[in-house]
């Protein structure tokens, strides 16, 4: 029988929009432009990750779906931003912790997604957390599939929580 991997918790985000921004080979820093515009428009970044292969670099930004209109305004503002940005509507983040620096654990997560035929739009780790982005409509299926292989504490924190939101109104 397969032994379950012990984790301390899982967190699910709300509905997000993922912006994949390719950095072209020119001096204009599109990521700096995007981040400046996001700050000016008070758009919170729920999750961001960077994918690099050689000189190619892609940043992925996940923002709340409620900010979709403001996001479109930002991307329309600059032709280079519009040309190099790809949007994935309705994604969700699943964060699992701790990963304990285990490659086996990362392998299990990708295997579960593959077996359940779930899209995997991004994966990244921090000090203790591994976060995956997938289709928001399938996020419950993803968590159920993962839980079949994970052992959680009996009184773990709920997966989906409404964290107190702080929006800085003046900078």
């Amino acid at each position: 029988m397969e032994k379950k991997i012990r984790v301390n918790g899982i967190k699910m985000s709300g509905e997000l929009i993922q912006v994949n921004l390719m950095q072209p080979d020119d001096p204009k820093d599109l990521n700096a432009l995007f981040l400046k515009s996001a700050a000016e428009n008070r758009i919170n970044l729920t999750f961001l990750s960077c994918t690099a292969l050689g000189m190619q670099r892609q940043m992925s930004y996940c923002v709340p779906s409620a900010d979709f209109e403001r996001l479109k305004t930002i991307l329309a503002f600059d032709p280079d931003l519009k040309k190099n940005a790809a949007l994935i509507a309705s994604v969700g983040c699943i964060s699992i912790f701790p990963h304990a620096f285990s490659l086996k654990f990362i392998g299990l997560l990708t295997h579960v997604f593959h077996t359940a035929r779930l899209p995997l739009y991004g994966i990244a780790t921090s000090l203790s957390v591994v976060t995956l982005t997938t289709d928001f409509r399938q996020i419950d299926t993803a968590v159920t599939s993962l839980c079949a292989h994970l052992k959680l504490p009996s009184n773990h924190a709920p997966f989906a929580t409404k964290a107190p939101e702080i929006r800085i109104e003046r900078i």
Binding site: P98, L127, P158, T161, I166
Partner: protein
């Protein structure tokens, strides 16, 4: 040689829990972790800590509620509680402030982002 002290770190940010725990373990403390107030209560009942590093803003049961319950409990009132307060003066759309941290029954408080060296000083001062 003195007995190793037990510390419970409670925060809904797993990376913060991990970084604080690593620092405490490097200073030879025994560390338990919890990710919200209710989970923390279970850990406290299982293995009573000497000190709790407790975040304020958490789901299910926030740090103020847990702090007040512990300090009003005959069994647990002697546990040292250090509150982590996350909200800076620049944030106007919330009722949490640093002053709230000072006016609870907590023994000490430290603002976020955490200065780990200062936190270690607070822990040592309160466990002496």
């Amino acid at each position: 040689m003195s007995e190793k002290k037990h510390i419970l770190v409670v925060d809904d940010d797993p990376d913060l829990v991990e970084s604080v725990s690593m620092k405490l373990e490097s200073e030879a403390y025994i560390v338990e972790k919890a990710y919200d107030g209710l989970e923390a209560w279970d850990k406290i009942k299982e293995d009573r800590p000497d000190l709790i590093i407790l975040d304020v803003m958490m789901p299910r049961k926030n740090g103020y509620e847990l702090c007040d319950e512990l300090k009003k409990s005959e069994t647990y009132k002697d546990i040292v509680i250090v509150l982590l307060t996350a909200v800076a003066d620049a944030v106007t759309s919330t009722s949490y402030t640093h002053m709230d941290g000072k006016t609870t029954l907590a023994d000490d408080f430290i603002p976020k982002p955490i200065d780990l060296d200062r936190l270690m000083e607070i822990v040592k001062e309160n466990l002496e």
